[in-house]
């Protein structure tokens, strides 16, 4: 869609690019140190984690300002630092890191949101006995995620990617005493593994074709025109070029990590983890890693596109994203767990990002990623604050009327909710979502994604209004009265709320700072950016949709949320679709009777084979050798031992006989001597005669 932009290759990296590796390394080292701390060293652990991430944030800001400065001097920069990791004969595997606008923006976002969530966690996890372990995992996560962001090599990215998956597993299962948490951790790990297998296949294929995994290497990198040209010349499977096929494989990995249909099932279950984890990993950063990955390999995804056209890979990304956006939003309507609603919302928004990448390019998708990171982290932290205030209650039906009990949480949550809904003008979500809708409107392949995304926006406004109506309006339906959270939790909320509103400024049509920055183009303030044909109509339309959703939600749930025992308003109105949506459209059950049933069956087959066939063969061989050993034993005892014993007996007898000769009688000896002499003489005479 967008024209290819050439970044000026920077031969000598700047000092900040040289030390960019410190950004992920410092939190990782901090995590290692925390791992060695004793459990009661809570303050030290938190200080180390927050301190190291603050340092990373500082470096990230310096890097960001550096990139900004270079951009102001004209054009985007892309500085890489590469080194050879493994050398085998003439082939070698290189790793490296890259500093470009994309990485810089992402670095600042991850470090900043991460830092706020770290601070929030000190309040949220205050009463947990494994506080130290929690910060160890969080730090490791932050390091790995920052590593994903700065990687200039698909392999290094994959390593950090897997580390991120590991910490996600560890943190979902943080309360491993809860069987649900342990199961959710396992599910998350295995579901993302499905995507990662394809991703790894893509990496291997990519390496086989281009001979390098570096993205940018002054002309020799795998994302640079020379390598892409060879990939386009190759034919993959099903009429795809190699570039398209590899792009789809990498997208499978991204879909696993970013919870795209059909691999979305792990993300809602991941809410079993502590809420700061849900905010940091399963809303703001890790799940966005898939989107970031697609943005990072965008030249590959886009390779072969004609002007204004699109590629198969991008088309697939778009359709999967648009479908996921609607699908997850539908399910979110009928959930009752406050975090589960947000989880499905996250899946849906990730679908928007993917669709934005597929139709509008890097800037459109990434802008939504950044704004979403802020307001979704805000919503999750707000939800955490609500859960904390309601004594670990997560069912929205047992809440209500919290706007007076928790005013700070309410105000910030409302801001996050309006940003997510895309409330016009003031909130960042409006601008980023409109960017995606605008791209969808102009998409040349099909118009359906546009209508799907508009419908998704309607649903988003509706389910968020429903949730807020349940939680903050009406009357208190819980047991113990709720209380407001401490300042250490509400201050990060306030900061995030500020950014949830303010970030929209950098991506308005009149001043598309974000897009220009990512693309490395000059920026100008044009009020007539709004004058593009159809844009005002689109914005008006999406505003109308948002208000429709808000109004519907308010009409059904505003101030009159039912008690837990009573059925939901929608459930009374449309019971059958409600049950379907409430049960998450039975995707888990479908996997239960297909994939999992198949593996159970296969497990049984393997077990049977193990016991009967392989086990039987092993037992047979064992029997054979036992028989052989018995035979050997028989031969030993009867033949070898018997023969030896007999020989010894004979020797003893012979010795006895000879011993009798030595009788001690001198004359016997003399007689024998005389006989011997006679015999000797006889022999001598006889032989001399012959």
């Amino acid at each position: 869609m967008q024209e290819t932009i050439s970044f000026t290759p920077q031969l000598a990296a700047s000092p900040i690019a040289e030390i960019l590796w410190l950004i992920p390394a410092v939190p990782m080292v901090a995590s290692g140190v925390i791992a060695l701390l004793k459990q009661p060293k809570r303050r030290t652990a938190a200080t180390l984690a927050i301190g190291s991430l603050s340092f990373s944030l500082l470096l990230a800001l310096i890097a960001f300002v550096h990139v900004l400065g270079e951009w102001a001097h004209g054009g985007g920069i892309r500085e890489t630092v590469n080194f050879t990791w493994i050398q085998v004969g003439s082939s070698h595997v290189d790793l490296g890191w890259v500093l470009d606008p994309l990485a810089a923006v992402m670095l600042v976002m991850v470090a900043f949101v991460g830092l706020l969530i770290f601070i929030y966690s000190t309040g949220y996890m205050e009463h947990d006995e494994n506080y130290t372990r929690f910060f160890c995992f969080l730090s490791l996560f932050a390091g790995a995620m920052l590593g994903v962001v700065i990687s200039n090599s698909l392999l290094l990215l994959f390593m950090c990617w897997e580390l991120v998956g590991l910490t996600s597993y560890l943190l979902i299962g943080f309360w491993y005493q809860k069987p649900a948490a342990a199961a959710a951790a396992k599910k998350a790990f295995m579901t993302t593994r499905v995507g990662d297998v394809f991703f790894l296949l893509g990496i291997v294929w990519f390496f086989a074709q281009t001979g390098t995994l570096l993205f940018y290497n002054s002309g020799a990198g795998s994302l640079e025109p020379a390598a892409l040209a060879t990939l386009l010349a190759q034919h993959g499977a099903l009429g795809l070029t190699a570039a398209g096929a590899i792009g789809l494989l990498i997208f499978a990995g991204a879909a696993g990590k970013s919870g795209q249909f059909p691999l979305h099932v792990w993300l809602p279950d991941a809410m079993e983890g502590p809420t700061p984890v849900s905010a940091l990993i399963h809303a703001a950063t890790m799940v966005a890693a898939g989107v970031y990955l697609i943005a990072r390999v965008y030249p590959l995804m886009q390779a072969g596109a004609l002007t204004g056209g699109t590629t198969t890979a991008l088309t697939v990304v778009t359709w999967v994203g648009a479908f996921t956006a609607v699908f997850a939003a539908l399910i979110a309507v009928a959930q009752n767990d406050i975090k589960r609603i947000l989880a499905y919302s996250t899946v849906s928004q990730l679908g928007y990002m993917m669709a934005g990448l597929g139709m509008g390019g890097v800037a459109v998708g990434m802008f939504h990623l950044i704004t979403h990171a802020f307001f979704k982290a805000l919503l999750f932290l707000g939800a955490g604050s609500v859960i904390h205030g309601c004594h670990e209650e997560q069912d929205v039906r047992r809440m209500g009327g919290l706007r007076s009990d928790m005013p700070l949480t309410f105000v910030t949550y409302a801001i996050g909710m309006l940003a997510l809904c895309g409330f016009p003008l003031l909130f960042s979500g409006f601008w980023s979502k409109d960017g995606i809708l605008e791209a969808a409107q102009h998409w040349s392949v099909a118009k359906a994604p546009f209508y799907m995304l508009v419908f998704g926006a309607l649903l988003t406004a509706f389910y968020m209004t429903r949730q807020v109506g349940y939680v903050f309006f009406g009357y208190w339906r819980g047991h113990k009265p709720a209380h407001e959270s401490p300042a250490v939790m509400t201050v990060p909320l306030a900061i995030l709320a500020f950014f949830a509103m303010a970030l929209g400024v950098i991506g308005t049509p009149a001043w598309p700072w974000f897009r220009a920055f990512l693309d490395g183009r000059a920026l100008a303030f044009h009020m007539d950016g709004f004058a593009e044909p159809g844009l005002i109509a689109l914005m008006g339309g999406s505003t109308a949709v948002v208000f429709l959703g808000l109004g519907l939600g308010w009409w059904l749930y505003g101030g009159q949320a039912p008690k837990p025992e009573q059925p939901d308003v929608l459930e009374k109105a449309v019971p059958v679709p409600w049950v379907w949506l409430h049960n998450r459209l039975y995707v888990d059950e479908f996997y239960g009777v297909t994939v999992i049933a198949f593996y159970e069956w296969w497990g049984r087959v393997a077990d049977w084979l193990d016991r009967r066939v392989w086990g039987g063969a092993v037992t047979g061989v064992a029997w054979l050798f036992r028989g052989w050993a018995q035979l050997n034993r028989f031969l030993d005892t009867n033949w070898v031992d018997g023969g030896f014993d007999k020989g010894c007996e004979e020797l003893a007898t012979g010795g006895g006989l000879l011993a009798r000769v030595q009788s001690g009688r001198v004359q016997t000896y003399l007689r024998l001597l005389a006989l011997a002499v006679v015999a000797l003489v006889a022999i001598l005479i006889w032989s001399s005669r012959a």
Binding site: Q662, V666, Q667, A674
Partner: protein
């Protein structure tokens, strides 16, 4: 019959008598005496072979015989000493009873 053959015959007879005595007598003293007889038979041979040999003028045979007699005297002294000490110990000179050095 040459004189040498006569001497040798006498010496052989003497040796046979000595051997028979040494192998058959039970008294240790008599066994020693029989051994002396055999030695003397050997000495008689030495003298005879010297006297009727190629160089009767050299005194080699005589010297040999005198050495032999001297050694025999020493040997008889040792043998008698042993016999006396055994007799003191076991109060007998019967060599059939002296069989404690058997294997």
């Amino acid at each position: 019959m040459t004189p040498l053959a006569g001497y040798l015959l006498v010496a052989a007879l003497l040796f046979a008598i000595g051997l028979a005595g040494a192998l058959t007598r039970r008294n240790a003293i008599l066994v020693l005496i029989s051994i002396e007889l055999m030695l003397n038979a050997a000495n008689l041979n030495l003298i005879a072979f010297w006297r009727y040999g190629p160089h009767p003028e050299a005194l080699t045979g005589m010297m040999f015989a005198i050495f032999s007699i001297a050694v025999a005297a020493a040997e008889a002294a040792v043998g008698l000493g042993l016999v006396i000490s055994i007799y003191r110990h076991a109060h007998t000179t019967d060599i059939d009873l002296m069989n404690r050095m058997k294997g």
